[in-house]
Symmetry: C2
Subunit: 364 residues, 2 copies
């Protein structure tokens, strides 16, 4: 879908919802709408869109560089002037200076948002969830292609990590091997959790100097970015014999993945998918150890709507891309998370990865 089509679709949603103005910072939302975003720093830079017009509040030192990327008008401000007058001009130029219903990019810096709201004292605001967020949730075929390529590349990086596992190697060395694999395929690592033994019980473990030992279960949650899109997958490995109780817990998490996959259908609430996974784990007696949501959307950003949580009323639709990643974290022992990114099709989820979710066993 080209940028112009995306902007038109956004305006269609704005009209339906009586939104006067959408304001976007230099980040993923702007990338989606314009195909680029200017350099993001402390200088306020905002794309302002009404149903009829649009302009960009632009730090003047980025104006020439950005001019090569878009035809949209700029309201420039220099470091000497500061952004306030230019923002006022920008609002006037698109007839939004009396906007009352404003949608804000939730990811923009607090000072950008409050600068804007200060100039629109009568405006109510909401975030992009029902407008631009809703548009971004449904991926188009070009986005699917890139996400699929990245997922297969990430399978190979995971296999490179698997191949490195042995007793005596540190988490960070395995991370480095995965990172190098990403580089070798022209991708950049986005994150790489290698959590051995009790470290695996921290869902967001910081990969470190821990030496992997015989009997360690290892959470490997890795992702890269290439061609403007990310990847994300979690698999489990064990060096040597499985720790006590591992197989039972792995089986429960796998069953939870299966239940969520079964539940995920167009027309279903995201909360029902979370419930499907959570019920399996709760019934098995591990509910308190499943400390996070079942999944998150993925597109330009690694985490974006739809969020698959107990309280999400989002109705799933074909074309949505999200993770299914239940986990059980047993403090002091091990953690198990199994994560696949899927695209929802009319008949259910299609998994991007080709790697089986079975634990990868490494002989001691």
């Amino acid at each position: 879908m080209d940028n112009q089509t995306r902007l038109e679709k956004l305006r269609h949603i704005m009209r339906k919802q009586n939104v006067d103005l959408i304001v976007i910072g230099p980040g993923a939302h702007m990338q989606y709408l314009l195909g680029f975003h200017p350099h993001a720093d402390e200088r306020p830079c905002l794309l302002l869109v009404t149903t009829a017009k649009e302009t960009i509040l632009m730090p003047s030192l980025n104006a020439q560089g950005s001019r090569t990327q878009t035809d949209i008008s700029f309201c420039e401000w220099s470091d000497d002037e500061g952004p306030s007058a230019a923002l006022q001009s920008a609002l006037v130029s698109i007839e939004a200076n009396n906007a009352t219903s404003v949608v804000l990019d939730e990811t923009m810096r607090a000072d950008f948002a409050l600068l804007l709201l200060h100039q629109l004292p009568n405006a109510t605001h909401q975030f992009t969830f029902d407008t631009l967020g809703a548009l971004r949730m449904r991926k188009d075929p070009d986005e699917f292609t890139v996400l699929k390529q990245n997922a297969l590349l990430t399978d190979r990086a995971m296999q490179a990590g698997f191949a490195a596992l042995k007793s005596g190697i540190t988490e960070i060395v395995v991370y480095q091997i995965i990172k190098d694999h990403f580089s070798s395929e022209g991708a950049s690592i986005l994150f790489g959790i290698v959590g051995a033994g009790s470290n695996g019980a921290f869902p967001h473990h910081q990969t470190g100097d821990r030496v992997i030992q015989n009997g360690d279960a290892i959470v490997m949650d890795i992702g890269c970015t290439k061609n403007g899109y990310p990847s994300d997958i979690t698999r489990m490995a064990i060096v040597g014999p499985a720790p006590d109780g591992y197989d039972e817990v792995h089986g429960i998490v796998e069953e939870a993945v299966g239940a969520a996959m079964e539940a995920a259908r167009p027309g279903v609430r995201a909360s029902e998918v979370d419930a499907a996974a959570r019920n399996v784990i709760t019934k098995a007696g591990y509910g308190e150890y499943f400390v996070h949501r079942t999944g998150h959307g993925m597109g330009i950003e690694g985490h974006e709507p739809p969020y698959i949580t107990a309280t999400s009323d989002t109705i799933l639709e074909a074309g949505m891309v999200f993770s299914i990643e239940p986990g059980i974290y047993l403090p002091g022992r091990f953690g198990i998370r199994l994560e696949d990114i899927v695209i929802l099709r009319e008949d259910g989820p299609e998994v991007f990865s080709m790697l089986p979710r079975a634990v990868h066993m490494v002989e001691s």
Copy 2:
């Protein structure tokens, strides 16, 4: 300075300025105060500090991992509950639920800030400039040591870039060589502008596939991060003969650097330093081509206060670290920027880099 001392110094400032509450997101401010910050994503995570107490609003899945890093109490919230009730509890627990004078981390996400302000409807807010920002501006000796090491490392990366320059090489290959040099010294590249010929006239040029040719002046603005601190330097190079008019413009920029260095003394306003550089360039007839401020502070963040702008009333003090980086950008021809990071001493600026600012000439 240890974290406890920093927190005490912050509270001293809060008392003097009658600030009830400071609220910090997971970023550089939190890193400065706590020596770490939890994983930053869309889940609201906030450090809340009053003059007497402090707590952290903490997504529960990050609680165990963060617990190893700080003794501060957590007000946890799970994906299922959402953050609102936990934030209310957090405010009550530190007796800040009736706070009227609040300082917000300007870099936190807009949704974090508005979530907080929604729960404190009677509060006025300001950003950290006069409080935590003021504290962070004056570097302590440990910070100086790291910044100095990073600067010398970056000199070597610049020299690696210089050594690669030749007619026929692309900007991006030079970038890659600089990036690899950073890696070889255990640093990560933060940015690397290699802007050849007319590309150099874009202050924030995106390094790309342009082939460097005889007669190109090349802006090289590079920085890395290591040990939690960044680096930043800009030097000029020319492959083959200098383009017409280059030497005159380089001389003007060098003179502007010198004037700013002369002007920068403890007790002087930042705007006076900007004026010193700007006057040189304006008098030489190039004022309209100096499209940005003279400098920015640098510490945990690559850009932080003090900003050296025409409108900055910040009084410079010994211990402040900032860039002096005037530039002249001639569209379609070339750009020249000369940037040094300095620490202000009682008798004036001490430059971190050991690399001369003279243009690096490469024979064709």
